[in-house]
Every structure is written in structure tokens, then in C-alpha cells.
């Protein structure tokens, strides 16, 4: 966990120092897409190499879908319950 924060912090600092070099930042954005695609491939291979996981994929997908739906529903319901104070106009804009 500390390693992740350290890497994020180094990135934030580097980004702040390089904020005027727009070309370099746009290269970084392209690299994010490429890295993300690479990561999806690696994660897929990780799943594909695991016979136990492959055998239970339909059941795992059902469990994943249930958590996803309940999480989204929980977020929206809670916000609607707590959000009466926000009624009127969207926040965060002047």
C-alpha cells in the first residue's frame, strides 16, 4: 500500500513539475491507454492460466455482477436519502 502511494506521489510531483510541457503530458495520456490495454491482457492471462478460476467463471461472474449492482444501487439510494440538502442546483459550480 505504501509503495502504491509512493508511486502516485512521485507521479503527482513529476506531473506538477512538468505541467507546462503539454506535449509530454499528452504522450503520458497515450501511454496510459497503452499500459491499461497491456494490463488488461496480463490480467486476462492471469485468469486464463488458472484452471480453477476458468472452471467457475459463470458462477464468479454472477457473484461479481451481484456485488456491482448492489454497490451502485447502495450509492444512489444513500445519496438520495442524504442529498436533500443538495436539492436545487448541482454543487461544485460557481
Amino acid at each position: 500500500m505504501l509503495g502504491i502511494f509512493a508511486i502516485l506521489s512521485i507521479g503527482l510531483l513529476a506531473g506538477w513539475m512538468l505541467r507546462r510541457r503539454k506535449r509530454l503530458i499528452s504522450v503520458c495520456e497515450l501511454l496510459i491507454t497503452a499500459t491499461l490495454l497491456c494490463l488488461m491482457g496480463v490480467l486476462g492471462a492471469w485468469v486464463g492460466c488458472n484452471e480453477e478460476v476458468m472452471g467457475n467463471l459463470p458462477e464468479l461472474s454472477l457473484q461479481a455482477g451481484s456485488i456491482c449492482l448492489c454497490s451502485v444501487a447502495g450509492s444512489i439510494l444513500l445519496f438520495r436519502l442524504a442529498g436533500r440538502v443538495l436539492r436545487g442546483r448541482p454543487v461544485g459550480d460557481s
Binding site: 503530458i25 496480463v42 486476462g44 461479481a64 451502485v72 450509492s75 461544485g92
Partner: protein, 210 residues
């Protein structure tokens, strides 16, 4: 939507390649994924740090603005806890999956790493986290028009979780309106920083000794 489909395409290509033995087992390991993730986090940090608007956004963030990420966190954890009742996972496992808030790459690898230290945790939990958080991103993009129309402009932001600062931001801007972009960015940034804290914390707190 195309972005998500391309991501899923790469994931499926990886699954097939791994399954038929086209990739060496070391390439399809959690360690390999962790190194790619480190590179991704560094690049994400650079793009956030280079965005001058982020700092001014955080300075302007009032209590009302923070209600959105707070509701996303608490509502997601309550929802995931409720799901655990009927899907055969423990409360902690289900909440740890939910605490990915759509950040599938980071949450699944964090769970894989943490699960190595906790023998009671299901070995398939990282895969469930990966799938569940991919589903959340795809669901947000696909359902944003309906969510915004029937449940208000905040609903796509709440559904998107950590992805509202990048992948689902265009959907929020299009269907909720450009006035929701600020809160979407703040929500995404806050949740991105919470994922590496909450996922291991919940897993260790709830699953130790099970």
C-alpha cells in the same frame, strides 16, 4: 463505450492466450500485473499532477461537494455487504470487492496480494473483484442516459465511482451535463486515493482468522 469494449477485448484475448498456453506462466502472474500497474499509477499521477485545475478544485471543495464521494463510499459498502447475504461470500470479501469502486486493475491486484497473506480468503476473490469492477464501469457507461434521466444528474457520478475522473467522465458530461464534471472529477480523485487504503484494510479487518 468503445473504450470499454476494447478493454474487454484485450482482457478476453489474454484469457484465451493464457488458457491455451500461448503465454508463459510468469507473464500471467499477479507479480507481472503488479509491475504494469505501477507504471500505470505513475502515469496517472503525472496527468493528475499536471492538471492545474485539480488543486483549485480541491480548494473549492465544500462539505456539500464531499457528500458525493462520501455517499459513494458508504453506499457501495452497504450495497456490497447486502450482496454478501445471497452470493456465498463473507461480509469482508464482498465489501473488499465493492471497495474497488470501479478501479478494476488496482483492486484486483491488491486483493490478490492481500489474499496471499490471508489463508481464509477465497482464491478467486481477485477475479470477482476484476469482473465486478469492470461491470461497474461498463454499467455506468451503458446506463448513464437512463440514470441521468430518471434518477438525476448525480446518479451516473455515483455509479461510476473512481472511474468518473477518466473512463466514465465523457458519459457523465454528456448525459448529466457539463455542470457535473467538477463533482465527477473530485469524486474520481477521492475514490482513487481511497481504493489502496480501503481494500486491504477491509480484507484484513474482516477476514483475519477466518
Amino acid at each position: 463505450m468503445i473504450h470499454s469494449l476494447v478493454m474487454i477485448g484485450f482482457f478476453l484475448a489474454g484469457v484465451i492466450a493464457g488458457h491455451i498456453g500461448l503465454v508463459p506462466s510468469r507473464a500471467g502472474s499477479a507479480t507481472a500485473a503488479m509491475w504494469v500497474l505501477y507504471a500505470l499509477l505513475l502515469l496517472v499521477g503525472v496527468t493528475i499532477g499536471s492538471n492545474g485545475k485539480v488543486l483549485s478544485l480541491l480548494k473549492r471543495a465544500g462539505a456539500k461537494l464531499l457528500l458525493v464521494p462520501a455517499s459513494t463510499v458508504v453506499g457501495t459498502l452497504i450495497g456490497a455487504a447486502a450482496a454478501s447475504i445471497f452470493i456465498g461470500l463473507s461480509l469482508g470479501e464482498s465489501m473488499a470487492v465493492g471497495a474497488g469502486f470501479g478501479y478494476y486493475s488496482l483492486s484486483s491486484i491488491l486483493i490478490a496480494k492481500t489474499a496471499d497473506d490471508l489463508p481464509g480468503v477465497s482464491g478467486s476473490l481477485a477475479v470477482i473483484a476484476l469482473l465486478s469492477n469492470i461491470f461497474r464501469e461498463v454499467l455506468t457507461i451503458a446506463s448513464s442516459p437512463l440514470l441521468a434521466k430518471y434518477l438525476g444528474g448525480y446518479a451516473p457520478v455515483l455509479a461510476g465511482g473512481a472511474t468518473t475522473m477518466d473512463c466514465t467522465l465523457p458519459a457523465v458530461a454528456k448525459y448529466s451535463g457539463s455542470e457535473y464534471v467538477t463533482v465527477a472529477l473530485l469524486n474520481g480523485i477521492a475514490l482513487t486515493f481511497l481504493v489502496p487504503v480501503l481494500v486491504p484494510l477491509i480484507l484484513r479487518a474482516c477476514c483475519r482468522g477466518t
